[in-house]
Symmetry: C2
């Protein structure tokens, strides 16, 4: 994968010892050489981690220099000490790179309810600052530093020409568990060298999040730490993007975030199938989303797909309790292109053949068609396997 | 367990071959010698099975003679043929015991989307009618005939004296899978020889269901077939119950239904822990219930408890996305009597000791205390184990 690193950024990641057992990278830095425009979208959980509280106050902004991230410890449910630790992470980073603490955003991910090992983190921030670089490998390292139970790095990148200027977008994300119905990233940082106003950046990011990171789930448990940040250095062009250029940028950002969001669902803990739900023909997009989420979060649907079972009954019955009014006699359902259910009743199909197709494909497409309007939604989730149970019954506090 | 069979009823169950593989009982009959008062509470799923449509029209009533039940096939998502099959089950039963088809209620449970094998069922109804009896064993057999993936029969019974008259209540239920947030019984039949008006019976049953069968979940998937029926023969006394007598009856019915509902959660597919959630200090009962359901349906909470992990972070963060406003700084949490979290922060506790207690007890009590009012709720659910996945990934359509 080619990573088009936007101009004006340096990245790094180091291991500071939070993930003592594995020795994996656990502190990442994303630094903008000049003050960047920044926007953020965060978890809507009432119980939020300290870094989310901090970042919410600091975005949108036209004056952000860095994002510092630790993995292995979420700094959530840690009270006043946690707030003070998050602030100290910003201060240490500001001191190291030479800016004000208010110009630094903070993210944390990992275990809930433990205080951060601040000495280790201070050392890590120092080491990460020394390692800052603008090349692809530096971005890749920073993406690695976000990971917890993720099995693969999640990155996406694009290069477009806007008004004659080459503009780059690249993003990193981590997911794997506690991926819930709203703001399901856990963490994602997207960099661009486009020049954006803070207001445009915020509006665009919120719209894109609604179609990407808010359309995925693993087990439907909403995290205390979910954060998506966009940093725009403005190095690609002199003027702030407007009109068609801004629209083009938004559509490219949507592509990048779709790839990242899909990658999170595709790396759900213990999964054997990535499930794409396509819910069509609803009166409103919210209706389509409510049905998609309800189907996506049904353990019975997820275990059926894990077992390569085209069990349309579990899917249709899950749609039935989504709280959305529809005519049960006008529902159609297809799995991987084969119609299993139409006009409210089962259709004759070769179950063995559909099951074989499911077994041979990691991707499972579930299409649910209603006749109540023209609104639709795409939603990504994963199946539920015994491996998920092992990961989550054995990962102790 | 002593079953106090109310006067005026006969029961039976036979194997008619729907559950061909196991040869287990799959047709149950509950017959009232005289027209009984009947009340029903049903699934709120939009996609409902044919027998639910039938029974909804027929309850409440003062003129019901029988309930006929088949297990192994849910007669759900079966269109017009399914409705006609449900009606035929009532007709066959009416013919066999000598009453009108409209005096018969019907229940089905099992696989979705397959037409009933009506020849087998017709034979089964005939055989079940011949086997009708009023003794305990007959009730026990009828309770067995309801089972699908249940590993134990679920029965509860009581005998009280109301106004000098001995009055009996006994109930049977089945559960195990597809046990969702509303009307989670799958199926339950409760018999009494109390004399009740149809209106009182319906009101009491709805109130009791809200505190019992609507307060349990296994995986939160709402079924298409859930039904709770109460049949009152009136043989215990001449006058319709009123005032104190009626209140006493309701409180006893609550006890019987609590035991049945708890038994369903305690027999959830693959479980190793029964979890009782006690949510207190909420502004409204609906708030408490919303928090309890959200915690109960979190796969991360359920897997933590399966792993004997006192992971308060998963419980508190689940409460945080229940959609109920509360002050995160005023939440307290205890597991099996040990406080783990108080005033919005973790409390020092012996994690190894709490984990050992959890491991040694099938019952896990989770107490969540808020400071927003005096409303509370008790909710029963179960943990999530790899065995649940095996049962549901391998149980094919």
């Amino acid at each position: 994968m080619t990573i088009h690193v936007p101009r004006g950024f340096r990245m790094s990641a180091v291991s500071c010892g939070i993930k003592q057992a594995s020795g994996a990278k656990d502190v990442s830095l994303f630094v903008s050489d000049e003050p960047a425009t920044a926007a953020g979208v965060y978890t809507t959980n009432l119980v939020v981690a300290a870094p989310v509280v901090l970042d919410r106050h600091r975005t949108p902004s036209s004056n952000i220099r860095a994002v510092v991230i630790n993995s292995g410890n979420a700094n959530a449910c840690t009270g006043e000490q946690g707030m003070s630790d998050a602030e100290q992470m910003a201060e240490l980073t500001a001191h190291a790179i030479g800016c004000q603490p208010e110009q630094v955003l903070v993210m944390s991910t990992g275990i809930i309810g433990h205080h951060l090992p601040m000495r280790k983190i201070a050392k890590g921030i120092g080491a990460a600052t020394s390692a800052l670089a603008s090349h692809e490998d530096a971005f890749t390292a920073a993406a690695e530093g976000l990971m917890t139970t993720d099995t693969v790095r999640k990155m996406s990148s694009t290069e477009i020409t806007v008004g004659g200027n080459v503009t780059r977008i690249c993003g990193a994300a981590k997911g794997a568990g506690m991926i819930g119905p709203k703001m399901a990233t856990m963490l994602s940082v997207v960099l661009t060298d486009a020049r954006l106003s803070p207001q445009d950046a915020q509006e665009i990011l919120a719209r894109v999040a609604d179609q990407t990171f808010n359309c995925i789930s693993v087990e439907g448990h909403m995290s205390t730490n979910d954060s998506l940040l966009l940093l725009a250095s403005g190095q690609a062009h002199a003027e702030i993007l407007q009109g068609e250029g801004l629209q083009l940028f938004e559509s490219e950002l949507l592509s990048v975030c779709t790839e990242l969001a899909r990658a999170i669902a595709n790396d759900g803990e213990g999964i054997s199938h990535l499930i794409e739900l396509h819910v069509r023909g609803c009166a409103t997009r919210d209706d389509a989303l409510a049905i998609a989420k309800t189907v996506a979060n049904s353990a019975l649907v997820k275990t059926a797909i894990a077992g390569n079972d085209p069990n349309w009954g579990r899917i249709v019955s899950a749609a039935g309790y989504a709280g959305v009014p529809f005519d049960p006699g006008k529902v159609a359902l297809a799995i991987n292109g084969t119609t299993l259910y139409d006009q409210g009743g089962p259709v004759a199909f070769d179950a063995a053949d559909v099951s074989k197709q499911m077994k041979n494909n990691r991707d499972t497409l579930v299409e649910l068609q209603f006749e109540d309007g023209d609104q639709e939604v795409r939603f990504w989730t994963c199946d539920l396997t015994a491996e998920y149970i092992h990961i989550n019954a054995d990962y102790h506090t």
